[in-house]
């Protein structure tokens, strides 16, 4: 067994959750059930210092997320700080709360790329999922502004039972908005989404039909728009290589400055998270107890311990293992080799309900709710081209399982 410390490579991506405030209330939000309040958010100067530390550590991509990052008045300064530190700035926005003129300031500050999430192809349905009347219209309007500024745009489509049959229309919408890339990802069941799992879980035949539809759309739209899609892990035989391996590729910083190996890591009880106020980022990356807890293979049990795929999928997702089996060291139960796989199969056939618990921040005015990304940005090297030494392969979240 190799020592994790000896082989520790530089991280590639940083997910900066600038705020947990968000006007939307999507029932599959990736934020934790307990959200950081506005009073605990880090100031501009602290983020600026963190970005310098991240750059020194080798970070390539910085994903500015939330919550809705536009809820921060200093967003342009934050973008400028990412660029000044020499990193790539990616804005992950709900599209609500960001005006065209503000977007122009972000572009001037050096913004590299924009991601806007859409909930569905029709306004009524999309606004229903977002829990915000008029969200769909505002998203479209912002997407047009993004294209006008010649900023590259990715549309994120979060898929679940109620919109899975509208993929074609959503891709058409993305194209009409001027997007160059679409990311299709099924809801992943943590936090708010887990709470709403019975309402979100697609049917097996829907998943199968969607997979075929995506292949058809990829061929149809080849050369016009890039379609990246990931298999829903509940319907796969093997687990996703979650985050490209725990503590191997990326970090997540919460609005208040806690550094997590992934956005859901606080789900796992007993982990100790260091903060950027108390420790330099490089020290956290190497030595934080939360990062070393599941780094490498020493923590693994059977069937992972003796499995040839342990270096491919790293045992899957630790948070999912804990949430479903109660043991964060267990094999991700979506793996067909896991003794807990029947729990996943049972969840797939849970009685369907159509009522959601919308994501809300406690004791805050109506507009202070939160955001919507089941698509936690997945910094990583997920493709290899003709360049001689593409270093790595495999989507950090979900593999192309059979």
């Amino acid at each position: 067994m190799t020592s994790a410390v000896q082989t520790l490579a530089a991280p590639l991506g940083l997910l900066a959750e600038l705020t947990h405030r968000c006007p939307l209330g999507c029932p599959y939000c990736s934020n934790p059930l307990t959200l950081d309040g506005p009073g605990s958010e880090m100031d501009t100067a602290t983020w600026r210092r963190v970005f310098r530390e991240a750059s020194n550590l080798g970070i390539v991509h910085v994903h500015l997320s939330g919550g809705e990052p536009a809820a921060r008045r200093d967003l342009a300064e934050i973008v400028a700080a990412v660029r000044a530190a020499g990193m790539y700035s990616n804005l992950i926005t709900s599209g609500v709360g960001l005006t065209g003129s503000r977007l122009e300031r972000l572009a001037a500050a050096g913004l590299d790329h924009v991601q806007i999430s859409i909930q569905d192809s029709s306004p009524e349905s999309a606004d229903h999922f977002a829990g915000f009347a008029g969200a769909w219209q505002r998203k479209r309007a912002l997407a047009v502004e993004v294209a006008k500024l010649n900023l590259p745009l990715t549309i994120n489509i979060v898929v679940h039972r109620r919109n899975i049959e509208h993929l074609s229309a959503m891709i058409e919408m993305a194209l009409a908005c001027g997007a160059t890339r679409v990311e299709i990802a099924h809801v992943q069941y943590y936090g708010w989404a887990l709470r709403n799992r019975a309402a979100l879980m697609p049917l097996a035949d829907q998943v199968e039909a969607a997979a075929a539809e995506i292949e058809r759309l990829k061929a149809e739209y080849h050369g016009r728009i890039v379609i990246d899609a990931v298999t829903p892990d509940y319907f796969a035989r093997y687990p996703k290589p979650c985050m490209g391996g725990w503590g191997r590729r990326s970090l997540n910083i919460t609005p208040s400055g806690k550094v997590l190996p992934c956005h859901a890591a606080e789900t796992i009880p007993g982990l100790t998270f260091w903060t950027v106020q108390e420790h330099p980022l490089a020290d956290i990356w190497r030595n934080s107890p939360a990062f070393t807890a599941f780094r490498g293979e020493a923590w693994m049990q059977e069937p992972c311990r003796g499995c040839a795929r342990r270096e491919i999928d790293f045992g899957g997702c630790r948070c999912q293992a804990f949430l479903i089996t109660g043991d964060a060291r267990a094999t991700d139960p979506v793996c067909h080799l896991s003794p807990h796989r029947p729990l996943v199969d049972r969840a797939r056939s849970e009685a369907a309900t159509d009522s959601y618990t919308y994501r809300r921040m406690r004791r805050t005015p109506r507009n202070q709710n939160d955001e919507a990304e089941s698509l936690a940005p997945a910094p990583g090297i997920d493709d290899v081209t003709g360049l001689a030494h593409g270093f790595g392969h495999g989507h950090p979240r979900l593999p192309s399982n059979d």
Binding site: A10, L12, N56, L57, G58, V60, H61, G86, Y88, N90, D112, H113, Q115, N150, L151, P152, T154, T180, R181, E183, V226, D228, P377, A378, P379, G380, I381, D382, D383, V384, T385, G386, L387, A388, H389, G390, F391
Partner: protein, 99 residues
């Protein structure tokens, strides 16, 4: 002899990195990298030399000439093929524009 792929543009095309794609040097990641939305590619020394010249002004022919004089002794046909192979692959992935 390596078969050279057809490139969907002639030698007068002026390749450039699209907006949202950047070539940067990152010591911790091992040198030159091509950074795109959600994707990172390590560029080896040759790829980096080619990509540095893709500024939207130089034609493919000029890029090949420039490399031929920088790498004295390498046969021009071989360089031409390497350049076209790389550019075709990258353009196909929307990591390069051939205009």
């Amino acid at each position: 002899m390596v078969a050279c792929p057809a490139i969907p543009a002639d030698g007068s095309a002026r390749p450039r990195l699209p907006k949202g794609v950047r070539l940067t040097h990152n010591e911790a990641q091992g040198g030159w990298i091509l950074v795109a939305p959600e994707r990172v590619f390590r560029a080896d020394a040759i790829a980096a030399e080619i990509l540095k010249r893709c500024d939207g002004r130089a034609t493919i022919g000029e890029i090949v000439d420039s490399l031929a004089s920088a790498f004295d002794g390498a046969p021009r046909e071989r360089i031409d093929c390497d350049v076209r192979t790389l550019l075709t692959t990258l353009a196909d992935k929307k990591l390069l524009e051939l205009s």
